[in-house]
């Protein structure tokens, strides 16, 4: 299990290349990569604020729960903060298990919890200024399925 919170960019492909490398007991690997999306064509950057200390603790607790609940053989959560350009990777999750159902469920669980329970806040920066991204009720609702 690896949890990393960092300002620096990262290479999702390189993380996947190193993930669960050389193991013969893993049948299924799921990964999720979240990127800065520019819907309007006017986004200059995304600024991500976080709560140092609590962020790492909250994510580690989620990852530990996922590992236990779905008997993951490997688990990776990487999340950035700071100023990110459109198209850049914001975060990724990777899960490895014997079978696909466990790897998928664990990855979705982690994404749902990261969205609403890890202390990150996003601000969209355009030429007009900055707008804090509002939390969606659907993201909060997504937690009820776990």
């Amino acid at each position: 299990m690896r949890v990393q919170v960092q300002a620096a960019s990262f290479d999702p492909a390189a993380e996947i290349a190193g993930f669960a490398k050389g193991r013969r007991d893993i049948g299924a690997e799921v990964s999720f990569i979240g990127r800065v999306r520019d819907d309007s064509g006017h986004l200059l950057a995304l600024e991500i604020e976080h709560y140092p200390g609590m962020t790492e603790a909250a994510i580690s607790a989620m990852a530990q729960e996922a590992v236990t609940r779905w008997q993951l053989l490997e688990c990776l959560v990487l999340h950035r903060y700071g100023r990110l350009a459109p198209g850049e990777p914001i975060m990724m999750v990777a899960t490895a298990a014997r079978h696909r159902a466990e790897a998928f469920a664990a990855a979705e669980f982690l994404m749902d919890y990261l969205k609403s329970r890890a202390p990150f806040w996003k601000k969209e920066i355009t030429q007009r200024g900055g707008d804090w991204v509002a939390a969606k009720a659907s993201d909060e609702d997504a937690l009820t399925r776990w």
């Binding site: 979240g34 604020e49 609590m54 975060m91 969205k115 202390p119 806040w121 991204v133």
Partner: protein, 82 residues
């Protein structure tokens, strides 16, 4: 004495990321009432606590949780990570 942290638009409205507060408040709700009474910028930030979340010593908690023994309290809007 308690360390109080603010994040995202709560931090922006109050104009501070953190401060040390001398208080006898028994709960986050009581501390919010104390702070809101202090200055308009606090009142503005805390106008609607249903739009806010609170963490005690870096764990999410409710506004009526006991503050006794807590060293660090943080106020922030709902998270938008991932």
């Amino acid at each position: 004495m308690i360390e109080v942290l603010y994040f995202a638009w709560v931090r922006e409205r109050i104009g501070l990321a953190r401060e040390t507060v001398e208080t006898g408040a028994a709960t986050p709700a009581a501390l919010v009432a104390e702070l809101a009474a202090r200055e308009p910028r606090y009142a503005a930030a805390f106008a609607d606590t249903s739009a806010l979340r609170v963490a005690l010593d870096q764990k999410l908690a409710s506004f009526d949780a006991p503050l006794a023994g807590v060293r660090e309290i943080a106020f922030f809007p709902p998270m938008t990570g991932g």
